[in-house]
Subunit: 332 residues, 2 copies
């Protein structure tokens, strides 16, 4: 991947902006400014700029900072994206909608000599189905009770902590934001379904015995819409260690109100059972809670209570750091 | 789908020809002839013809009758496929390799006014992610211990038996051969991974309460490479009934010698556990064994033994018919 940076982060009127926050947190040097619509409730703590101002400040691309439902480009953003192209910016997108097939943006970009970067486009990639033999090296996969609970953040934090301790490690990105942060990886939910496990295997190839690949998880095994992607990622990753990520304030699966959040205990059992098909030593080594919606006392109590209940380390990567989980990894 | 029929079935030197045998068995009226290379060990019991003869006999397309490893077009077939186009035939393909992107076949077909039909191409289709609420109507999904064990055949046989009994039923195809037999469906392993469950939901939409959708299964939940596709299909299909299909003569997963065949009992447990996420009433109602490699006495004994051991009907669709399983469906 060779994307023109730095970025103007485009939030517009999006209610969430996971991609923009992820890039800002983990690659701040790539972020010049944000562009929000007046009613936006979000704030990246970056200067607000329009396209011309951002270009003057050095921006080379506008990065779509949120993923609307279904990954579809909202028509109401089109006028602004046209202005961005005319101002001299490329567009970097992690949407399912392919900007390179868009009836307005594609010809306009071509006429202006701009490039549309569809980082999620993976369907032209084929992956060879190997024998799924055990690959040398150690692998950690973050797994989720649900989507958007901190799997990427937890993996990045564990990768950083391992490196701080002098351990050879690589963060392996599997989502569009992770790929933009790492500058490479495979957007696993956009691969042709037949190749998910093979793509996951290719993403964390054979390595030195003490090397850790820290793989960003996707979806949730007990998620009605995305369980299949998750299972393919688990099988292909062959994780030695899994870290279960959850948002303890949720009662139902995000956007799927008919489905209750499964219990942590059930997730531990089911992920372990699934992972042992390709790695009989696989185990869940810890829990990572996103307690951002809880006040301090309640969050601390919940982290301690969860550790005791599941008899394994429990952390919140932001409040407590991931040290207790990395302590376990050092023993594997 | 609007494919030019009838077909010349192209077997060439393929060691297996699942697609050709499937079309011949279930849509014999579409099959004019076969074309085999001299060393071929396969025989569809159809006249052997070259391209010109087949055209003279009324064929409008040559259908690639086998799926080589990885779904890739072997270069050694190219000269013949060029001759087929020049003889006036379209090409119908269920390979992952897209004939419409092939550097030789694409321009030649265009120059000759022929069409290349890539029935497996699904990546340009998006499927809307709904709420995964229970859909009215009844659904049966055939599920497998492994790939290529009779899931399609079993589903087609059950669909036919239901119709014979006057029950309103539809066969829902999820693989390239099934789609060619049914004249429609979704090649589920070729969908973008994110959309597998949504595609499965779209394939068996809400129906009358007594209507049965009989859905062709894919892969195997305990298959190291394809478990994810299977789980997405299970979740999206919301099966009321599953029929577990197996080849009792296999010791390891096909093409994956490191992985033993899982036990039927384990498969029953794991499929039931998986399916109950989206349909709490889901159950495995019977077993379908492909005993084609066993002699009569051994086959009959094994079918009876399996029924007793698992305490549910066991059939071989070819030797015994699927009546005992359909008897159970009538009680649901």
């Amino acid at each position: 991947m060779n994307l023109p940076t730095p970025y103007l982060l485009f939030i517009a009127d999006a209610p969430h902006a996971k991609t923009a926050f992820g890039i800002r947190d983990w690659r701040p040097e790539l972020c010049i400014a944000q562009m929000r619509y007046p009613a936006s409730m979000l704030d990246l703590d970056l200067p607000d700029m329009d396209f011309d101002e951002a270009v003057a400040a050095g921006a080379r691309s506008v990065l779509l900072g949120s993923a609307p439902a279904g990954g579809v480009l909202p028509d109401r953003w089109l006028a602004d994206l046209e202005r961005a192209l005319r101002a001299g910016l490329d567009i970097v997108s992690g949407l399912h909608t392919r900007l390179n097939e868009h009836p307005l943006l594609k010809p306009l970009a071509k006429a202006l000599g701009r490039t549309l970067h569809d980082v999620r486009r993976m369907d032209d990639r084929q992956f060879s189905i190997g024998q799924f033999e055990r690959r040398p090296g150690k692998r950690l996969l973050t797994v989720g009770v649900d989507c958007a609970v901190g799997k990427k953040y937890t993996a990045l934090a564990i990768d950083r902590e391992l490196r701080h301790r002098g351990i050879d490690a690589d963060f392996r990105a599997t989502g569009q934001t992770g790929v933009l942060i790492a500058g490479g990886g495979i957007v696993i939910d956009s691969v042709i379904a037949d190749f998910v496990a093979a793509a996951a295997a290719e993403l964390s190839p054979a390595a030195a015995p003490e090397h850790w690949d820290v793989i960003e998880g996707q979806g949730g095994l007990l998620h009605p819409a995305y369980g299949g992607v998750t299972l393919g990622l688990v099988h292909g990753s062959q994780p030695d260690a899994m870290v279960l990520c959850a948002d303890p304030t949720r009662e139902t699966i995000g956007d799927f109100d008919l489905y209750p959040q499964p219990a942590l205990e059930e997730c531990v059992l089911r992920y372990t059972e699934a992972a042992r098909l390709t790695n009989p030593a696989a185990r869940v080594v810890g829990v990572s809670l996103n307690t951002s919606r809880l006040e301090d006392g309640r969050a601390t109590a919940l982290v301690e209570e969860t550790a005791a209940r599941l008899a394994m380390p429990c952390v919140d990567p932001i409040r407590t750091g991931v040290g207790p989980i990395v302590d376990v990894l050092m023993t594997l």
